[in-house]
């Protein structure tokens, strides 16, 4: 934030050093993952272990594709499944949660407080145990072995709703009231006035939705190989043990690429100055 009046610059160097040191702690394991994914297998057993390789190879990646191909389902099918789940969840979640978040933050209607309270409680109740109950519900609906068994339960995310609601609640009521007196309906106020001013929260929501659905394992909801998701198969082939560490790391790197791209795009979309200037009276 350069250029703010009345702020000293001297602290910036110390801050930068602090960030750099903690940044190394955060990034080093990721760096190692990437490095090990391109290391030839023999080098994994060298002592002392090296943190770089002089002969990078893509062998681990080709071996990973090879191992997946043995499932008799083409690799592209898994990518397609995961993309279908990811795109549907991200899109539907963004639309549905934006509307619900707006209504919960800015409209007075019967039941609003109750819903708000239920959302906060359900945020805290995420556990393995409701998974089996979810299974029973999905089974009743006849959705087992169907990609919608993965898509539908993930759309109404209390986490995403809570985030949007909290963020929208900061918009002054006066703006919404004046739009109402101008004759705009709630739907239009939501999409034309409120949501365009919620870019940071919206991008955060998209990032959460994208990465959680992209990393979703199909678990007990899907039995047929042709409907399984990519992380499920990658998890299957990357068994533990040093010999297969290379393949396992290659899988991790492969899975990391799409969320990293989305994250970078979403980041650059958020232009800081535009956020509230002009909206706050």
């Amino acid at each position: 934030m350069s250029g703010i009046v009345g702020r000293k610059k001297s602290g910036n160097l110390i801050i930068f050093i602090f960030l750099a040191i903690s940044g190394i702690f955060m990034f080093f394991p990721v760096y190692l993952t990437i490095m090990m994914s391109v290391k030839p297998t023999e080098e994994l057993f060298v002592f002392p272990p090296e943190i770089y390789t002089s002969q990078p190879t893509l062998k681990n990646f080709t071996e990973m594709f090879e191992a997946i191909r043995q499932n008799r389902v083409p690799f592209s099918r898994y990518v397609f499944n995961s993309l279908t789940v990811t795109v549907s969840v991200t899109f539907l979640q963004t639309v549905i949660i934006s509307m619900a978040g707006f209504v919960l933050a800015k409209c007075q209607f019967a039941g609003r407080n109750l819903i708000n309270r239920i959302i906060v409680v359900s945020l805290l109740y995420q556990s393995n145990v409701i998974y089996i109950m979810q299974y029973m519900v999905i089974n009743k609906l006849g959705l087992i072995d169907n990609l919608s068994a993965l898509i539908l339960p993930s759309i109404a995310s209390p986490v995403g709703l809570f985030l949007m609601k909290q963020s929208i609640s900061q918009i002054p009521d006066s703006i919404i009231d004046s739009a109402k007196t101008d004759g705009a309906g709630l739907f239009r106020i939501c999409w034309q006035i409120v949501i365009p001013n919620q870019k940071p929260a919206l991008m955060t929501l998209i990032i959460f939705a994208f990465q959680s659905s992209w990393n979703m394992q199909s678990g007990a909801f899907i039995f047929h190989d042709e409907y399984k998701t990519l992380p499920t198969v990658i998890n299957q082939i990357s068994t533990t043990g040093l010999a297969r560490a290379g393949i396992s790391m290659a899988g991790a790197v492969f899975m990391l690429i799409p969320p990293a791209i989305i994250f970078t795009i979403a980041q650059s979309q958020i232009i800081e100055t535009m956020t509230y200037s002009g909206i706050k009276n």
Binding site: M1, S22, T33, S122, S127, Q134, L141, A156, L256, T275
Partner: protein, 297 residues
């Protein structure tokens, strides 16, 4: 009564229409399963046979005879302190520091700090902490002469809790951090200029009087996220130090629930464990809410 409902519906039709898609999916896939799991906690249920009602037996067994559960409670509290509380403070400091960096450098650091949360890259920690001389930590400590023989970070009961806490803290920056970034970015920067005119002259005062009050909703969100992720820690730890961990030294409440739910298929018992965990998180959340309300006055 009926008329009242009709009136309300008519008046706020748009509201109900806009929230309906969310509520329908939310009720079917979250509310119903949660509500179903509450009575299961009072039964003996192995998925195959019909659940049998046994009253509070699951709960009394947990507190009176399950020593491992009591141990897992202690371990979960340790995790909650480090990967919840400490990590929340670090999250905020980092997000705040990043905000004072030039735009590009700030974005760069945001990516760096968020990468661990993007995909399952944590399995590399098994190699970093590997117990043979090939492990990166061991090899480093041996080469600087700090130790002479490798330490079994992942299997020695004395060290696994430490190892697990480090990994969990590394993972825990995620959601809360991003929400704080979004909150900081949402602050209208003319407020700092107004503040400067009104006599705020250092960063610390800016933080207390402008930054924190303007991003309160995001701080609340990050807090809830941090509570949930730290109290439900377990899956990743299981992958790193194994299941069960040596002497149950990194055995969290969630691991305990996993053990009964998915290894022994004792769903009733597992539901009771999760219910207790939920009550603990709920209490912590309420306490934090109360404290922050008090401070706001």
């Amino acid at each position: 009564m009926f008329n009242k409902i009709r009136k309300e519906l008519k008046k706020n039709m748009d509201c109900y229409l806009m929230i309906m898609p969310f509520m329908v999916l939310f009720i079917i896939f979250t509310v119903i399963p949660v509500v179903m799991s509450v009575p299961v906690g009072f039964t003996d249920f192995n998925i195959v046979q019909k659940p049998e009602f046994i009253g509070f037996s699951n709960y009394t067994a947990l507190f009176l005879s399950d020593k491992i559960f009591m141990k897992s409670l202690r371990i979960t509290l340790i995790f909650a302190f480090f990967s919840g509380f400490i990590s929340y403070v670090i999250c905020f400091i980092i997000a705040w520091f990043i905000d004072s960096m030039p735009h590009r450098i700030g974005n760069f650091f945001t990516v760096i700090f968020y990468i661990p949360s993007m995909a399952n890259v944590y399995s590399v920690w098994r190699i970093i902490f590997s117990g043979d001389m090939n492990g990166y930590i061991n090899s480093l400590l041996i080469s600087i002469g700090f130790i002479t023989s490798p330490i079994q970070w992942l299997t020695d009961g004395r060290y696994i809790l430490f190892t697990a806490v480090i990994v969990q803290m590394w993972l825990s920056l995620g959601a809360g951090f991003l929400a704080m970034r979004a909150g900081l970015r949402g602050i209208d920067h003319t407020m700092y200029e107004v503040g400067a005119v009104e006599g705020i002259n250092n960063r610390f005062q800016e933080l207390i009087y402008i930054t924190i009050p303007s991003m309160k909703p995001h701080l609340m969100f990050a807090g809830v996220m941090q509570i949930v992720s730290s109290f439900t820690a377990g899956t990743v730890i299981q992958n790193i130090v194994g299941f069960p961990s040596t002497d149950y030294n990194a055995h969290t409440v969630m691991t305990h629930a996993y053990d009964y739910g998915w290894v022994r298929y004792e769903m009733g018992y597992a539901s009771a464990i999760c219910m207790i965990l939920f009550l603990i998180m709920y209490t912590v959340n309420r306490i934090i809410e109360k404290i922050s309300e008090k401070n706001a006055d």
